[in-house]
């Protein structure tokens, strides 16, 4: 990362791997929104960055001019790695998405709530008496990985392996295609073995359920199945872990908000929406496939667009006091889970996990603050959240 050429002008040469962007992107986006609402860079073989809500929305809705076949901006384009439905365009997108949706409705997710509560309770019990912990490493990162494992029917102890793959695919893989392809190959082998185990003895889990799935009466291909499993594993873990981490990063620094949630836990779901707005973890990407114009900026086919839901959520034209975290914000039409046909399939799961994670922690540890002797570090790439978050319990 230190070897990257420094950015001199965010409007014409931005780099989302720049340490300043990783550390605190919000002032950069604010400046862009004023001066050059659709930024561009020649890095990564050409990428646009719309920073206004309306432009992000326009791209998200426009499946004619923008394709989801590439959804991560990388230095070199890898061979296409389908993970339907997130990498699908119409008309293939709808049937691929409908296949997964029933498993992710609010009612379907309720099945996992008690288990999530147990996971959180056990994690908190490990460090509650120790005077402090790393809220990202010891707590946030441990929750989604276990919940997803339970859903898919995989051992919860495999967390380290899953996190390594995610780090390789979403972070290291941006600049290192060899690392990316190695991780993709390993996930394929791992999931093939899991499919094999279930052929003779189906289980009560999502993998078995997907193995039975049909589109237009025909079973889905093994590639489709592997892609969907990879998607659920990757998209369901570091995203939610980042969101949970950001909640604690905020609460560790804002004692009034923390005390209010401790005193009034019924406010937690509303606060979660505000944390999702202000600290939305996920930036997606699209490939421009036809000449088009967004926010007055002509876009060329073959280039990529960073689709920053986090920037959209901070647009003062849409959100009053956009840079302030207002935990009881009533009108909150945020786009943390995307807009349009690619709305995050795991949104109900993520909301449940974040809410439960806050409830269980605040019950046992109502008072905490950032460790002044330690440094908070942030993830690189297009999922944003704290990766080290040392806190001290008061």
């Amino acid at each position: 990362m230190s070897t990257r050429p420094p950015v001199n002008d965010w409007a014409t040469d931005f780099d989302h791997l720049d340490p300043r962007w990783i550390e605190n992107p919000y002032p950069i986006w604010e400046e862009l929104r004023e001066k050059c609402p659709v930024a561009h860079t020649e890095r990564f073989r050409g990428v646009y960055f719309p920073s206004r809500y309306d432009d992000v929305r326009a791209v998200a809705y426009d499946t004619e001019n923008f394709s989801s076949r590439r959804i991560i901006v990388r230095e070199t384009p890898p061979p296409r790695i389908p993970a339907p439905p997130i990498t699908s365009d119409p008309p293939e997108h709808r049937p691929a998405k409908n296949l997964l949706l029933p498993a992710f409705t609010p009612d379907a997710i309720k099945r996992y709530e008690q288990h999530t509560r147990d996971i959180c309770g056990k994690l908190v019990a490990r460090f509650a008496d120790k005077g402090g912990c790393d809220a990202a490493v010891d707590y946030a990162q441990e929750i989604p990985v276990r919940v997803i494992a339970v859903m898919l029917g995989l051992p919860e102890e495999e967390g380290d392996r899953f996190r390594t793959w995610i780090h390789e695919i979403l972070e290291l893989g941006i600049t290192r295609p060899d690392v990316l392809m190695k991780a993709i190959g390993e996930t394929t082998k791992y999931f093939q073995a899991e499919i094999e185990k279930r052929r003779s003895a189906p289980r009560d889990d999502l993998i078995s359920q997907l193995m039975e799935a049909k589109i237009d009466g025909a079973p889905i291909t093994e590639d489709h199945l592997l892609g969907a499993m990879r998607l659920i594993l990757i998209a369901g873990i570091d995203t939610t872990w980042s969101a949970i981490g950001s909640c604690f990063w905020h609460l560790a620094q804002h004692s009034q908000d923390r005390q209010r949630l401790v005193a009034d836990p019924a406010l937690i779901p509303t606060a979660v929406e505000e944390f999702l707005r202000a600290y939305a973890p996920v930036t997606m990407a699209r490939e421009v496939i036809k000449d088009t114009t967004i926010g007055g900026c002509p876009m060329k086919p073959g280039q990529m667009v960073l689709l920053s839901f986090p920037a959209a959520n901070r647009d003062p034209a849409v959100f009053k006091d956009a840079d302030r975290v207002v935990i009881d914000r009533k009108e909150n039409r945020h786009a943390a889970f995307g807009l349009g046909i690619h709305r995050c399939i795991g949104s109900n799961l993520a909301r449940m996990e974040i809410t439960v994670a806050l409830q269980e922690w605040l019950k046992r540890i109502p008072e905490f603050h950032l460790d002044p002797a330690a440094k908070v570090t942030w993830s690189e790439g297009t999922v944003r959240g704290p990766r080290k978050l040392p806190v001290i319990f008061n």
Binding site: L101, T105, E331, R333, F337, S347
Partner: protein, 68 residues
């Protein structure tokens, strides 16, 4: 009479309406919303109807005030 209506073409299943006003919205098997019954909003729930509308990321909810 006040009514709510979900535009089924616009709805993408964010499920905010069903969370904020469960009396007024129901979700189908895919998690997409529709108005409960014929969408009529009892007087006491009018505020909730507007709250659901204000929180729909897809602008898929209409609150209609019909003159009797």
């Amino acid at each position: 009479v006040t009514k709510v209506k979900v535009d089924r073409e616009k709805c993408q299943g964010h499920a905010r309406c069903a969370a904020l006003a469960p009396e007024l919205f129901v979700l189908d098997a895919l998690g997409n919303a529709r108005e409960a019954g014929d969408g009529t909003v009892p007087e006491a729930l009018i505020e909730k109807a507007y709250l659901a509308k204000a929180n729909c990321p897809e602008l898929a909810i209409e609150v209609i005030e019909e003159k009797a």
